[in-house]
Structures are given as C-alpha cells and as structure tokens.
C-alpha cells in the first residue's frame, strides 16, 4: 500500500495560541481513516492545516509532493476535497449550482453533467430538489449536498469535518453507509473527523486519537475500538 498523505510535525496557530503541537500521521491510499478526539483537541484544525486555512508549520506531503505552502484553492485543485464544519453550503444558490461549483476547478467540462447524474444516484433526495435554493434544504440534505459537492471534484482524498454534527441518528447511519460505498466503489481515500466515535470506528479501517493537539494513539480501527481507555473516554462503556 502506498502512502497518500503524510503529515510530519504539524504545528498550527491561531494568533498567539498554538492549537497543534507537532502532529504526525499518514493515510494509506484507499483507506478510510478517522480522527477522534474531544472538543478542542485540534481535529478541525488538523483538517484546516492540510488545506492551508490556518497558519501552520511542519511538512505535509500529498502523493509525495509537499503542499504546505500552496494556497487553499491550489491544494483543492490537486484533488483534495474538504467538507468543512457547518457544510459551507452556498445557501443562496440552487442545489444544481452547488454541484456545478464542486466541479468548477476541473478541466474536463464534458463529464460534469454525467457526474451530476451520478450524484443524484448516490443521493436521490438531491434530485428531487435540484432547482431549489440550497439554503431551504434540511440539515441532513445539506450535508448530503456538501458531500456530493466535494465528490464533484473527483477527489483523490476527501476530508470530512464532523459530518454527523446536528443530524438525526438515522440520517447519520445513512450518510456513513454512503461514505463507505464511496470509499470502496470510487476509490476515494477518506479522512473523517468525528465526535461520534462509535459510528466512526465501525466505518473506518484506521484511526488516530488526538488530545490537546497531539496524537496519543493510532492503529487499526478495530484495535482502537477495543482499547480500554478509548472505550472509557470516547465510547462510554
């Protein structure tokens, strides 16, 4: 297995405050990895640092190329799709325009139409609403739209920031099922940040646990799920 993303000694800062203290981890190509941690542990910051949306130092390599100094849009153009916390929906545009925007940096314009159709297959609810203003969608629908928009990039790597946030449990299950499918069928490497540790560990094959800006545990998702400390702190049994 080849390494897709390699992060070494990542430190990130908000003004004077240091949020990450030398984080190192790597993602294998085709893997589905989850990053677990409590509030304020630095999960979101880690994702933001990969896309250069926060001031950071350290080495970030994507498919062997250093990307630490690239601007956000140029990181994305390499094929790294980022579904941000809060979904980042373009609320005043239609569902279809949101999907178009997902593919806006792609050079192959012809395939966009068929990709949109494919998204409607993954997320049938979006098809029913394609001329509707995205802001009028429910939270769950918006999260589906955000994932679909990210996939429109035809990404090699997808970063998801708490996709379960604020959604009903049934919808979360549905969403995670689709994520698994995308990971297997479309060969998209996925890094998902979650507070819902149980679901995330069921879904993922690799896991990292992060505490106050440092990785404290890493390994196979099953092993992590069986780890006593993790069970106590994150799974609650």
């Amino acid at each position: 297995m080849t390494t897709m993303l390699n992060v070494k000694d990542l430190r990130a800062y908000y003004g004077q405050v240091q949020a990450l203290h030398g984080l190192s981890f790597s993602l294998n190509e085709g893997s589905l990895t989850t990053l677990l941690g409590a509030n304020g542990a630095g999960k979101t910051t880690t994702l933001r640092a990969i896309c250069n949306m926060v001031r950071s130092t350290g080495a970030i390599e994507f498919e062997g190329k250093p990307i630490g100094t690239r601007s956000t849009e140029n990181v994305v153009r390499l094929g790294i799709a980022h579904v941000p916390q809060g979904r980042g929906t373009f609320t005043n545009m239609t569902v279809e325009e949101n999907l178009q925007l997902g593919a806006i940096s792609r050079p192959d314009k012809k395939a966009i139409g068929s990709d949109i159709e494919r998204m409607y297959e993954h997320f049938p609810v979006l098809k029913q609403r394609y001329t509707q203003q995205a802001g009028t969608l429910s939270g769950g629908e918006q999260q589906m739209l955000a994932v679909a928009r990210a996939l429109m990039l035809r990404p090699r790597l997808m970063l998801l920031d708490e996709p379960s946030f604020g959604l009903a449990p049934l919808i979360v299950r549905d969403l995670f099922r689709i994520l698994g499918k995308i990971n297997r069928e479309e060969k998209v490497t996925i890094l998902v940040v979650e507070q819902n540790a149980q679901l995330a560990l069921e879904l993922a094959d690799q896991a990292y646990v992060i505490e106050t800006g440092r990785i404290v545990m890493s390994g196979n998702a099953k092993d992590i799920a069986n780890n006593e400390d993790v069970r106590k702190s994150y799974l609650g049994y």
């Binding site: 908000y14 003004g15 405050v17 949020a19 509030n39 304020g40 979101t44 910051t45 949306m53 916390q85």
Partner: protein, 338 residues
C-alpha cells in the same frame, strides 16, 4: 469547536477593541498634556490658531470614534451635526448676545437631541444603508442652511460673522492663545468624560452591540436605546466642536460644512485608529496638515499627492495610529525585560 478556533470566523466590520485599549496610560497622557500646554507659549499666533483647530477637529473625530469604534455604527453625516453646533453657537452669540462659553453646552444639547432623533430611523439601517442615510443628511444640511425661511437667523448664503472673545479677567494673553487654552480645557473635559462613558455600563452596552447585536439584546441590553444614545452622544460632542469651531474661525457659512468635512472626519478616524480615542488627535493632525503638505509638494497635483500620502499611511499602518501605539508598547515591554 474550541474557543481558539472561533477566532478565525469572519471579522466584524468594526474590530472589537477592548475598552482598556481604547485609551492611553497615565504616563503617556501626562506627556501629551504637558506638550499641549507648553507648546503655545513658544509659537506664533497663526500656529496657535492651527493648534486650536487641531483640538476642535480631534473632538469631532473622537465623537465619530465613539459612534463607530464604540457602538459599531457608521456615519458620513458628522458635518451636519458640526454645522448645527456651529450655527447654534453663532446665532446665540450674535442674535441673543450670549456669552460664548455658555453657548457651547446649548450647542451640545441641541445636537444631542438632533442626533438622538436621527438615530431613530437609523436604527433600521446598517452598513452601507446607514452610510447613505447619513450621507443624505450631510448633503442636505448646507442646502437647508441656505433656505430663505431661516435667512433672518442664519444669514443665508452669506453666513454670520462671529466676534472673537477676549481673554477674561484682564489676563495678559492674545485672543488666539486664550481661545486655545479655553478649547484645551473643554477638550480635556470631554475626553475624560468620554473615557469614563466607555468604561461605564453604557460603554459596555455600546461595545456589546458593536460586537454582536443579537447577543447583546439577548443579554438584556436595550439595543434601540443604546444605539440612538450613541448617535446622540456623538452628535452632542460634534456639536460642541462645531460651536468651538465657529468661535475660532469667527465665521459660519453653509459651504463650510459640506460632505467634504464629513469625509475628512471619517479619514481622521481611520488614520487615528478606529476605536482608539487618543488616535483622534493624530487623525485630526492628518486632516489639517496633510492637505497643506500636499499643496506644498505640488500645487497642480495636490489632490493626487494627498491620495498617495493617504495610501502610504494605510499601507504602512492599516489599523491607524493605534497600531503604532501597540508596536511602541511592545518595544517598551521588550526593553524593560532586557
């Protein structure tokens, strides 16, 4: 997620300036005060006059700063309040024969009322809309002052000539110098009152509204009252400045209070640093002296030179004089450590 991460969300239009950062420390204040007291003893009358204007505009800039930096509302209409203050003083002095010093509080009260009333419809507006509304006020004011109905009082287009007061109690002082110290005393009084206002409950209410209006109202701040109050206070101080200005220039006329004055005051606030009261005097110096400097560099291109100088200032210190003060403070702290 965590508190640290919330910092990166979109910045509000007006930066949140903590209230302690809005003022100067004691030591620096005393040095500035000493300079303001001593310099006039050694310079010519014309320069004393310019220093008087410096203080007057500083007051007007500070008034805008309380409105914008304090409560987050934006105004391009300060020239209108300034004009009302100036005319109130001038009319009371020339038509009613009132003592100049007594006209100032009246000018302040009249403008406070005017600003408070104007603040009512302005409540519904924010950002560019409020800018346009206040702008309309500023463009209307000179026209209103010219109107035939008020000509008996305002002197119409001609305006009014105001008598310059002599120093009282037979003090051996030129008129200019007396007026300077009088203005200085008034300015210090208003500055101290403003600092106290911003440190008080009302000041906290202003700043809460500036930083997050909905959260402020959720905490029980009467948003409508405090927003109009901020307009009133700002207008009142501007009115006093206008009254002082009328006395210093010895003349009021509609064309002295055009939108250009409002724009100048706005620039003064930006250059001084939005939300930093002591910066007002730096901003005032900028709008008084830089046009003259520009004229000195090139008569034909004075506007362009002014623009270039303004760009230089905002490139070097986008946060205005406040930024210089902060840098100086950090340097001083470093120096102490070593």
């Amino acid at each position: 997620m965590s508190a640290a991460e919330e910092i990166v969300t979109e910045a509000p239009a007006v930066e949140a300036v903590p209230k302690r950062a809005m003022t100067l420390g004691y030591g620096t204040s005393l040095v500035v005060l000493a300079a303001l007291i001593l310099i006039p003893l050694f310079v010519k009358n014309f320069i004393i006059f310019q220093m008087t204007m410096l203080l007057i505009y500083a007051l007007a800039v500070m008034a805008l700063n309380i409105l914008t930096g304090g409560s987050g509302q934006f105004s391009l209409g300060q020239s209108a309040f300034y004009a009302v203050g100036a005319y109130t003083s001038a009319i009371l002095m020339e038509h009613a024969g009132m003592n100049y010093a007594l006209t100032l509080p009246i000018a302040g009260i009249v403008c406070f009322g005017f600003g408070f009333l104007f603040g009512q419809p302005a409540l519904r507006l924010s950002g560019v809309y409020l800018a346009l509304a206040t702008f309309a006020l500023a463009t209307a004011m000179p026209q209103l002052l010219k109107l035939g109905y008020f000509e008996h009082w305002t002197g119409g287009v001609q305006g009014l000539v105001v008598t310059k007061p002599d120093a009282p109690f037979g003090l051996p002082m030129s008129q200019d110098m007396w007026l300077y110290y009088f203005t200085l005393a008034v300015s210090i009084g208003i500055y101290l009152a403003s600092v106290n206002l911003l440190r008080s409950r009302s000041g906290r209410a202003f700043m809460a509204i500036r930083d997050n209006e909905i959260a402020a109202s959720a905490m029980g701040v009467d948003v409508a009252l405090y927003k109009t109050l901020a307009f009133g206070v700002s207008a009142g101080i501007t009115g006093v400045a206008g009254g002082l200005g009328a006395i210093a220039v010895q003349f009021v006329a509609p064309d002295g209070y055009t939108i250009q004055l409002a724009i100048s005051l706005f620039l003064g606030m930006v250059v001084g640093g939005v939300g930093w009261l002591p910066g007002s005097i730096v901003g005032s110096a900028f709008i008084i002296f830089v046009p003259n400097i520009a004229e000195g560099i090139s008569k034909g291109l004075s506007g362009a030179v002014f623009g270039v100088l303004l760009f230089l200032v905002i490139f070097l210190v986008p946060h205005g004089a406040r930024q210089i003060a902060i840098i100086a403070q950090q340097l001083a702290a470093k120096f102490k450590k070593n």
